[in-house]
Symmetry: C2
Subunit: 553 residues, 2 copies
């Protein structure tokens, strides 16, 4: 069996100029980064927003992975098979996880975006630019304090941490500024992974360079000794930070193995941020294609909910159809099967765990849009298991569904699904938001917990209660809420699988993200800086003298 990187390196790519041309993008509108990657010059003000939008989300993911990106890419290739003018809109991978765990963010098997090695490694430098801009701001804050602290910033109340695009638990909690008078002011600090930076969220929500600069200026960096908020604009550095992101804001264009155009741009994590690719990439896809397929991170409870409640209002467009990805393996796990025993047929576990799929389908249905279930087939699935699942989707859930096998077959393996999706896109449907901006912050959190997670209560820690009071007093109660929650469960406890009821969500803190324009509610134990496993993927990677890569998935 060939590895993903082998399939990728053996695939014959078309020059990116030709891929752009498929969408009617001229050579003048792109800046090439090598022969197979380009940044697209695109003025969102000229946007034609009437393409059909398809959102791909999933059941709760397991450590095995549900292949949501593989499904998204395969579905795109099926649209190409059906001669539709299609563009994908996807997130960029983060190097931290790439170096840590096997399994990339560029699809798998014969449903991949290429060149997968470049996309997984630095790509066009967007994340590196974000890292640089984020840390430049951090340095400017400490430098302001060092040189007299005219703004009266309290070093104990700085909320702007530092970031690296590395999984590095060692940097979660640090003390900086040691070494005496000439080396800064000692204080507690910490590093997040770059994809958790508010700058990443902003890059993905900004509608143009001016909006980006405005949002950067609004970011909260800390408080003064008399507890007044300090914004980036108080430091007068929003111009310099925007300058550092002048290229990062432009969407990137690549292709799938089957030459379907794919915009890949931005990538905030969905458990700690809003988890969707940039609005500009989705707008570019909608502008140039007749159909756009985009993917939201993790399950419908995280990326799916956030796409609907945070992204759609800013995009001024909601999905015409939602695809929920499910696998037999993950549903069996949700039904109590042993994770080391998923290759064995187990209809009981499947029947027990299938409630997880039901919840995710209903989650998306309540937004008023048609839902199609994609059954992502694995080699180990038995016919009986697949049939049971198909049957359940059709008869119990009453929605359309299709088996997809793009990992092995590329676009051909997703044609059935594509036909269902195209049909669904033509159904008339009205978007029903979960909450209105008039709702209080607590009402918004309650709406998400009860209507999406299936829980009953929200419990705020004292810290969260104080933060809530302060945020409302500051006049930011109208902002949407971005939940930070484990992706593995509908609850805030990663071990509670299936479709739990009667549970409480524990909010430990609320963070004000004024640039992104949302309030992050931290639940359970959510880490904003991952660690590496005992055998990191990096140990198996190599490149030989001819540039042949091994071990990159």
């Amino acid at each position: 069996m060939k590895s993903d990187v082998e399939i990728s390196q053996e695939s014959s790519m078309e020059p990116i100029v030709k891929i752009a041309d498929k969408l009617g993008i001229s050579e003048d509108q792109i800046e090439q980064y090598g022969h197979y990657k380009a940044k697209v010059q695109f003025d969102p003000k000229t946007e034609r927003n009437d393409g059909k939008l398809i959102l791909v989300t999933s059941i709760n993911p397991t450590t095995a992975g549900e292949g949501k990106t593989t499904v998204t890419i395969g579905l795109g290739d099926a649209f190409t098979e059906l001669h539709k003018k299609i563009a994908l809109a996807l997130r960029e991978p983060s190097l931290g996880p790439v170096m840590g765990m096997k399994g990339g963010a560029t699809g798998g098997g014969y449903a991949q975006v290429v060149p997968m090695d470049d996309i997984n490694l630095h790509f066009t430098g967007d994340f590196d630019a974000l890292t640089e801009a984020h840390n430049t701001l951090a340095a400017l804050i400490d430098n302001h304090i060092q040189h007299g602290n005219q703004l009266n910033i309290d070093p104990r109340q700085i909320v702007w941490k530092r970031v690296l695009d590395v999984n590095d638990r060692e940097l979660r909690q640090v003390v900086v500024g040691l070494g005496g008078r000439t080396s800064g002011v000692p204080r507690q600090d910490g590093f997040d992974i770059t994809v958790a930076s508010e700058l990443m969220a902003i890059l993905c929500l900004a509608t143009d360079l001016t909006d980006l600069k405005k949002r950067i200026g609004q970011m909260l960096i800390g408080y003064t000794y008399d507890r007044q908020p300090v914004l980036v604009s108080d430091l007068h550095v929003q111009g310099a930070l925007t300058l550092l992101l002048k290229d990062a804001i432009k969407p990137n264009l690549v292709q799938t193995i089957e030459h379907t155009p794919a915009f890949i741009h931005g990538g905030p994590f969905a458990n700690i941020a809003h988890g969707c690719n940039s609005i500009l990439a989705t707008q570019a896809a909608l502008h140039f294609g007749d159909y756009t397929i985009t993917e939201a991170g993790f399950g419908s409870d995280l990326g799916g909910e956030k796409f609907m409640d945070i992204v759609a209002p800013k995009l001024k467009k909601s999905p015409d159809c939602v695809v929920v990805v499910a696998t037999v393996r993950a549903l069996k796990l949700n039904g109590g099967a042993d994770k080391n025993n998923l290759n064995t047929e187990d209809l009981n576990a499947l029947e027990t765990g299938i409630v997880n799929l039901k919840r995710h389908v209903e989650n998306m249905q309540q937004y008023g849009k048609p839902v199609v279930v994609a059954i992502n087939k694995f080699v180990s699935d038995s016919d009986a298991e697949i049939n049971f699942l198909k049957d359940y989707v059709h008869n119990e859930l009453g929605v359309k569904g299709a088996v997809i096998n793009s990992w092995a077959e590329g676009g051909k393996g997703a044609v059935d699904l594509a036909k269902e999706v195209i049909a669904a896109c033509d159904q008339p449907a009205t978007f029903k938001p979960l909450y209105s901006s008039d709702n209080s912050l607590l009402e918004k959190i309650n709406a998400i917990v009860t209507k999406v997670y299936g829980g009953t209560n929200v419990e705020l820690s004292n810290k969260a209660k104080n933060a809530l009071k302060r945020i409302e007093k500051m006049g930011y109660g109208h902002l949407p809420v971005c939940m930070a929650k484990t992706q593995y469960s509908l609850t805030d406890n990663a071990k509670q699988l299936g479709a739990p009821t009667n549970f409480t969500i524990h909010v430990s803190d609320l963070q004000l993200k004024l640039g992104a324009g949302f309030i992050v509610a931290l639940t359970g134990k959510i880490l904003t800086m991952p660690g590496l496993p005992s055998h990191p993927a990096a140990l198996d990677m190599d490149i030989d003298e001819n540039g042949r890569i091994t071990g990159l998935f």
Copy 2:
């Protein structure tokens, strides 16, 4: 008067494909990064190494700047004026200083490399890739310790710090690994600026991808509890780190305002590392051009000496001519003039300070190669001052010299200098190295101190003495020495200008850089992480809705 960024943005660039074509580089051999930047696919094994090589160095720099890069670029444009097949080989700017102090590394006035904004901001991502690779290694080291520490690494003896391409004094000395059992092992650590990373030195010394990987594997990361060295190869991650640098190793091609081709690649600082662009960039220039002009950082005592003693042996070629850049202003400062009074004619100060030029010319002459002095003219220089300097160069030093005014006139302002340089390149000359690898480390340091700095003694701290013993015991006494010293003085005290004699150089520590293949000798108080000034340049930078940039010099 137009700012550098205005001149740059108004200049009419040629497509990079056309610039490559001037050197006989086909479209297949380049990967475009936008329309005006490219990475060059170049196999150094096919190298034609018989082009003429010109090294530009200077007197001790002052905070005002001697315009060495401006001279280098102007000289290149003069070669173009004279219809010579010329290629420049320059260093990439570091974003830390760009955000800190006015004055970029891309030349000035009408002698600039363009697009200067892109070159100063991320460029093709090389430094970002180095930052990522460096910190990935740091995370892998701490992760190894966290997961059982099979290699028995002593957390107190880790020599591999972390890096950011930011001027951030707050990160010089930090404590990492706080937060309990799941967040690493608490220990002392620190951040250097990316250009001080050994990976940067290696990128600039590697001759191909295989050599890069070999050198990365050899890097020393720390010691075990029983004081045995631990190398990157012990962790088995040289493959992954090389993979992260697979594009960074390729030289970048851009152009000057007058369309002279320029390879810009790598940029280790010259006060803490070897201070020259990559060997691959110089090789590419030598391969494709008849003349190559390259620049070494700071004065002849730093970048100049290091080019001769560290780079030339690895390049297997020494310069055919050395250009020493001098300015009236800097020599007056060296002669005791007030730095706020440099616009006033002061022949006495010039006469006193000119000994600094004498020392730098003699420094380079002792390597056996012809020296030409470039008198870089400033608007404030009086005719009497310029004439005095010309006269001194000709009659007292007995070397060729010419006034250059490329800042105002571009290549035309450097034609006289170019003619002298071309003539010098045709003189027969034999390269005389300063020391041989058979010399002991102390003999090598002594040779540099007495023959280049003009000092009399070397004093080692106890720490340095112990390090020396350990390094020699480990069998690395044959390696060359890379001095870390202030750029402002020939001594290790930044305030001692002119050409001091009878002084002692104080070596505080010796660091083993096994990947780079040299021993760093730290003298005086050399910082490997700069700080920002009280009014950082970032505060004045901006970009408007049309992408027009202001404040970037």
